[in-house]
Symmetry: C2
Subunit: 331 residues, 2 copies
């Protein structure tokens, strides 16, 4: 494993891809690899790009990557959206959208399987970003579908989060309700050559004025700019990348300190939780788990009591770790 | 607490509401209360209703509840969607939509805060359903926004899951890609008086014919029916409720056995994980956590090593619970 890490860090792309797969599949490899490379991380600026299917997200990601390449950066792309062309679910025309990125050794594309446990996905994404960071990719773009809590978590893990809207989807306010606006550092109205782009941009500005639901902009001195792009035609990309770099400068002046802390805490607890449940699984075994489930289904026990029993059998304590607080309420 | 449980189970609505709040806020109360009532659960049939904002979901939920009331059932409603009128985010006209349900003592409405940890939300929802079940509500409808993994988890926790589509949203295929179709037991085309309803219904049938992505219908003998409704006008509600009852009968013939098992396992591990991380928190203290985070941010340690260190300090083992499997890979 150490040899693989060294090859990957020395610029061997195949080694990096193999290392990523190993890290994704085996938590013990993840732990060892991240320990090995951690000191080299912290140089990359990460950009989360989120938006509904059909918003032109992948095209925009490709444009951002190309612009960064033109500015001399090495670019990593991590695609979490399973329908993204970057995820290898290749549709006709995807190669075209990838454009000049295909074959460029300054670009490394990695896709994540979006099924499976959520926390696992967010954590796995972070590890991919770290490997790219350590391998010298100094701009990493994370593409997510922007539909649920998992994507919110992933977006939150980036330094700069872009939320893409398109004109006339009519659901601007609905999207905002779903909590997407509050994670945005930059708001992008893509397909700005379509009817209604100005109205959509104005609606977003109005929401920002309200301050309502935009906890982040209130807490800090950063007001998310609203930018218009036509990703398919390359329009507005320079201004967008400039805005990302301005947000990066803001972050380095200290604007991102609290988010960085929150992210570290979330990740720490996610690792704790998954390590501990794995330990229970290993000590009690599949049979022990199955027996507990059968007893729950037969209503011979309840899920909380069954969990307590498994903890005891796994040697992880009394099984009543939280009883003390309500002792006075016991019969 | 025991007194509160007894009052709630005896039909005291205020006691039930207070018990729900206590269960939601305090895991130790949840454990004790669920243990107390668990033997009384298992009688309610739960219906998950999921669909995009604007699909008329809340109106449909109100109609289903009213239809069940007319058939003599007691109905619980658990609203997870924060924009639902059931969640108390009252918009003009919501009282109208609630219609005859307001003031009906055979209906109990509970809303869940949709922020916070995902697993926690799914588990909290299950506990609310159990309390309603034990209190004699024999049909429980769970309303979710249907946008992400959390909603998928919640929907999966129901016996019968309705996925609502509306005509001409144009994103049918996108929604299917997001994995919503595979959780559907019933597909509902609401607003069926709008242009394109037949085409949307036909598209859904075609997807079902493909079998593709509909793992559940292939595994079992249940093919999700596609139903058309106009919730605002009460059209198609009888047929919809009949279909739910048919799915319930199918479930009782054994069709739901595997899902019930999966749900129990997911919940068991969620309880294990949250109990264990709470224990770490209690033993190490806020200061210990903060110190670990500060060291991660300063890159004096990495997240995995920090987690191992916290586990050791919490007395939960060596901190290398998963090392064994890759021992041969160590340097």
């Amino acid at each position: 494993m150490i040899a693989l890490v060294e090859q990957a860090m020395a610029g061997d792309r195949r080694a990096l891809a193999r290392l990523m797969t190993a890290v994704e599949n085996d938590p013990s490899v993840a732990r060892d690899a991240i320990r090995e490379i951690y000191a080299r991380t912290g140089r990359a600026h990460t950009v989360g790009v989120t938006g509904a299917p059909g918003s032109g997200k992948s095209t925009l990601v490709a444009r951002i990557a190309a612009a960064y390449r033109a500015r001399g950066h090495k670019v990593g792309i991590v695609a979490v959206d399973p329908s993204s062309p970057f995820s290898g679910g290749a549709l006709l025309g995807d190669r075209v959208r990838m454009g000049s990125l295909a074959g460029d050794r300054g670009v490394f594309v990695r896709s994540m399987a979006s099924r499976g446990s959520l926390g696992g996905l967010a954590r796995g994404t972070l590890d991919m970003v770290r490997l790219l960071d350590a391998a010298g990719y100094d701009r990493v773009v994370i593409e997510t579908v922007g539909a649920g809590q998992s994507e919110v978590d992933i977006a939150r893990a980036a330094h700069t989060t872009l939320v893409i809207q398109v004109p006339g989807m009519g659901d601007t306010i609905q999207t905002l309700k779903a909590g997407i606006l509050e994670i945005a550092d930059l708001l992008v109205v893509n397909k700005a050559d379509h009817v209604g782009a100005d109205r959509t941009a104005a609606a977003l500005e109005a929401m920002l004025d309200l301050g309502h639901d935009t906890a982040r902009s209130v807490e800090t001195t950063w007001r998310p700019p609203v930018l218009k792009t036509v990703a398919s035609g390359g329009v507005g990309i320079k201004e967008l990348v400039d805005a990302i770099e301005r947000h990066m400068a803001y972050w380095h002046r200290g604007g991102g300190r609290e988010r960085e802390r929150e992210r570290a805490e979330r990740e720490l607890f996610e690792i704790l939780r998954s390590d501990l449940s794995r330990r229970v699984y290993e000590r009690v075994g599949r049979d022990g788990i199955d027996e507990a489930i059968a007893r729950i289904l037969a209503r011979q026990t309840d899920p909380y009591a069954a969990a307590g029993d498994l903890l005891r059998r796994a040697g992880l304590g009394s099984g009543h770790p939280i009883r003390e607080r309500s002792a006075q309420e016991e019969e």
